[in-house]
C-alpha cells in the first residue's frame, strides 16, 4: 500500500498494531507505519488456534528480509483463527494491512481493555 492510511473505525496500540472489534471478537493486524518500517514481509509465523494471547505481550513475529519484528496483542483473548493465506502470500501484510493482511482473530477475554486503546486521531499523533 503506497499511501499511509489509518482507517477511522479501528482501534490502535502504541506498538503499531490495530484491532477491529466485532461483538465479542476482535481481529488484529499491524499498521501501515509498521509494514512500511519493516519492508516487504517474507514470513509470518502464526500462533496456534486455541492459544491465549495477553494484552501488550508479543504473540508472533513478522519477518522481512533484513528485520524481525514482534507483533503485540492489543487485547487479551483466545485465538479463534489465523490468516492461513499469509503462508503463501505474506506480502498481503504490506499490500492490504487492514484487509487481506489481517493476522489473527480472537475472542476477547476482557472487552473493557478496548478502552485503553487509541482511536485513529491519538495514534496519528503518536506517529
Amino acid at each position: 500500500m503506497a499511501e499511509a492510511s489509518y482507517p477511522e473505525e479501528l482501534k490502535y496500540h502504541a506498538e503499531h498494531d490495530w484491532a477491529r472489534i466485532e461483538g465479542d471478537e476482535a481481529t488484529f493486524g499491524i499498521t501501515w507505519y509498521a509494514q512500511d518500517a519493516l519492508g516487504e514481509v517474507v514470513f509470518f509465523d502464526p500462533p496456534e488456534p486455541g492459544a491465549q494471547v495477553t494484552k501488550d505481550e508479543a504473540y508472533a513475529e513478522v519477518e522481512s528480509v533484513k528485520a524481525v519484528s514482534d507483533v503485540f496483542a492489543p487485547l487479551s483473548g483466545e485465538i479463534l483463527q489465523v490468516n492461513e493465506a499469509l503462508g503463501d502470500s505474506p506480502e498481503k501484510i504490506n499490500q492490504d494491512p487492514y484487509g487481506e493482511g489481517w493476522l489473527v482473530k480472537v475472542r476477547m477475554s476482557d472487552p473493557a481493555e478496548v478502552d485503553s486503546l487509541m482511536d485513529v486521531g491519538a495514534y496519528r499523533e503518536l506517529l
Binding site: E40, V42, E63, S64, V65, K66, P90, E91
Partner: protein
C-alpha cells in the same frame, strides 16, 4: 535474455570424469562380503560428472564474478580488511605445516608447537593478559569461550549468575553468544558522547551480572574514556569484563585491554592479523585471559618444559573442556605468526597509528562541503580506526537512502562500507579504511562519494536502480526468503523459483 549462469551440476554429462582412481592392488572382494545390505548405498550420490578442463573453467569463471581485496578498497567497519601478505600463503603451504596430522606425536611436531607457543606469547603481550588459548575457530567462538569461562569461574566460587550486559551498539554476535551461553541479555545505553552510559551501567550492574561485554574503541569507532571507571563498576559487583577484539587494530602497542581492566580478550586473526577472509572464513578467535581465569581454559594447552621442548597438556581438571576438535585453526596461526614476525613490535604500533590516521583523514574528507551535509558524522569526536556517518541528510535532502549509495558504489568498483550498523545510528555507514590503503585511494573514495551525491542531486533514480555494471543487478531477496531454494534440483536440472522470463 541469455542466462549464462550454470551450476557445476548442470554441466554434468554422464560418463565424464576428472578423477582416475589409483591402481587397485588388493583382492577384489565383493562388496556384499564387506558391507551389510542394510548399510550399502543403493543409489550413488548425484555429484557432477565433468572433466578437469571443464571443472577448472567453471570455477575460474565464477571467481571472475567476485570483487576482492587484491583488486580494490573494502572500507568495511569492524572488519579490518587490510592487505593479505603473499608470503603467508607460501609458508602456510610448506609440507611441515600443511601436511602435518593433528594427532602426530608432540615429539615429532615440535616446530608446530613452538609456533603456537610463540604466537600465544605475542598475543599475550599485545593484549596485556598472560594466558592464551588458540582454540576458538572465529570471533564468535572466542566470545562463547569467554562466557563459558566466565560461567566456570563463577561456579567455581559457588555463585550462579544470570545476566550479561552488552552495550546497545554491540555487534550481533555478542547478544547471540549471551543466549548460547545460557545468560540473559541486558542492554546498557550509550551516552551522548558515544561511550557507555555510566549511570545506566551502575543501575544495571548487580550481583546477578556475570559479565560486561565491550569493545574499545566501540563500534562507533570511539575510545571510551571512562574505561577504568567501567572496569571498577563491573569488578565491584564481582563480574568479569570481556573485550571483543574486533577493533584491536586501533590500539596495538598503544594501549592494552589487560591494562584497561579486561579479564578476557578475543582476537580476530582474520581481521587484525591478516588471515585472508576467503569469502566468509576461515578465521580464528584466540583468547587471552587473566590469572584468575586461566584454570578454566580449554584443553589442550600448549606448554613448554624447562628443557625447551613443547607439549600439549591434556591434564587440566578445571578446564571447560573442548570447543572443537584438535588444537584449532593452525593454518591461520601460521599466517598470523608470520605477520607478527614481519612487523615486530614497532610495525604493529605503526599499523595502529596509520589505521587511526587514515580513518581520521577520510573522516575529514567526507566532512567537506558537498558530502558532509548529506552524510553527517554520528558523533563529532576524534575517531579511532573507524567512524560512523548517518545517511539521514541524504535521505531528507536527496531522497537517497544509504542502501542506494552503497549500490551505486558498486558501479565505481569500490566496496561499500558496512551499512545499517550500528542500529543506534539512522541510515548508518560504518567506515574503516585500515592502514594498508594509500592516501590516493582514500581520496578516490571521497571523490566517488561526492560524485554519487552530486548525481543524486540531479536525479536520485539512478542510484535507486543501481548497480548497472555488475554481473547481476539488484536481486529479489524477498523472493529468496519467501520461497527458499537452497540446493539445485536432483539430476542436474536447475531449480527455478521464477520460470524463465518472469520478473520477480
Amino acid at each position: 535474455m541469455s542466462d549464462d549462469v550454470v551450476t557445476i551440476f548442470e554441466r554434468s554429462r554422464e560418463g565424464r570424469r576428472a578423477f582416475v582412481a589409483p591402481e587397485a592392488d588388493v583382492p577384489d572382494v565383493p562388496l556384499e562380503e564387506l558391507l551389510p545390505a542394510s548399510q550399502r548405498r543403493e543409489r550413488p550420490a548425484d555429484l557432477p560428472e565433468v572433466s578437469e578442463p571443464e571443472l577448472v573453467r567453471h570455477y575460474v569463471t565464477l571467481s571472475s564474478k567476485n570483487f576482492h581485496l587484491d583488486e580494490g578498497f573494502y572500507p568495511l567497519g569492524s572488519c579490518t580488511m587490510k592487505h593479505n601478505p603473499k608470503l603467508h600463503e607460501r609458508v602456510a603451504a610448506l609440507p611441515g605445516h600443511a601436511r602435518l596430522h593433528p594427532l602426530q606425536d608432540p615429539e615429532y611436531a615440535q616446530g608446530a608447537l613452538e609456533l603456537m607457543w610463540r604466537l600465544q606469547g605475542a598475543l599475550a603481550e599485545i593484549a596485556g593478559l598472560p594466558h592464551v588459548s588458540l582454540q576458538p575457530s572465529a570471533g564468535s567462538h572466542g566470545e562463547l569461550a569467554g562466557l563459558l569461562l566466565t560461567r566456570a569461574y563463577h561456579e567455581d566460587r559457588g555463585e550462579r549468575r544470570t545476566k550479561v550486559l552488552t552495550p546497545d551498539t554491540a555487534h550481533g554476535t555478542n547478544p547471540a553468544t549471551v543466549t548460547m551461553a545460557g545468560y540473559q541479555v541486558v542492554k546498557v545505553g550509550t551516552a551522548e558522547d558515544g561511550g557507555v552510559d555510566l549511570d545506566d551501567l551502575r543501575d544495571k550492574a548487580d550481583d546477578e551480572v556475570a559479565c560486561l561485554m565491550l569493545t574499545n574503541p566501540n563500534t562507533l569507532g570511539l575510545f571510551d574514556r571512562n574505561i577504568e571507571e567501567i572496569a571498577e563498576v563491573v569488578h565491584g559487583v564481582g563480574a568479569t569484563l570481556y573485550y571483543d577484539g574486533a577493533n584491536l587494530n586501533a590500539v596495538m602497542g598503544i594501549a592494552r585491554p589487560g591494562d584497561m581492566g579486561f579479564d578476557i580478550v578475543h582476537f580476530n586473526l582474520h581481521k587484525t592479523f591478516t588471515q585472508p577472509h576467503g569469502g566468509g572464513g576461515p578465521g580464528a578467535g584466540p583468547i587471552a585471559v587473566s590469572n584468575r581465569i586461566e584454570p578454566f581454559l580449554p584443553t589442550p594447552q600448549v606448554v613448554r618444559a624447562d628443557d625447551g621442548s613443547y607439549d600439549l597438556d591434556h591434564d587440566r581438571p578445571k578446564s571447560i573442556g573442548k570447543l572443537r576438535g584438535f588444537q584449532g585453526n593452525f593454518g591461520v596461526f601460521v599466517r598470523s605468526y608470520a605477520y607478527i614476525c614481519s612487523l615486530g613490535g614497532d610495525g604493529l604500533e605503526e599499523a595502529s597509528k596509520v589505521a587511526v590516521l587514515n580513518a581520521n583523514y577520510l573522516k575529514a574528507r567526507l566532512a567537506e562541503e558537498g558530502i558532509g551535509e548529506y552524510l553527517p558524522i554520528a558523533f563529532d569526536r576524534t575517531c579511532m580506526h573507524e567512524f560512523v556517518l548517518s545517511g539521514r541528510g541524504a535521505k531528507e535532502k536527496l531522497d537517497l537512502r544509504t542502501l542506494d549509495i552503497a549500490k551505486r558504489m558498486l558501479d565505481h568498483n569500490v566496496h561499500p562500507p558496512t551499512v545499517y550498523f550500528p542500529l543506534l545510528v539512522d541510515e548508518a555507514l560504518m567506515i574503516e579504511p585500515t592502514e594498508t590503503e594509500t592516501k590516493e585511494r582514500l581520496d578516490h573514495f571521497a571523490d566517488v562519494v561526492r560524485s554519487i551525491l552530486e548525481e543524486a542531486a540531479e536525479d536520485p533514480e539512478i542510484a535507486k536502480n543501481a548497480p548497472y555494471t555488475t554481473p547481476v543487478r539488484r536481486l529479489d531477496e524477498a523472493g529468496a526468503a519467501k520461497r527458499p531454494v537452497v540446493r539445485g534440483s536432483p539430476q542436474g536440472g536447475g531449480s527455478d523459483p521464477h520460470p524463465r522470463g518472469e520478473k520477480p
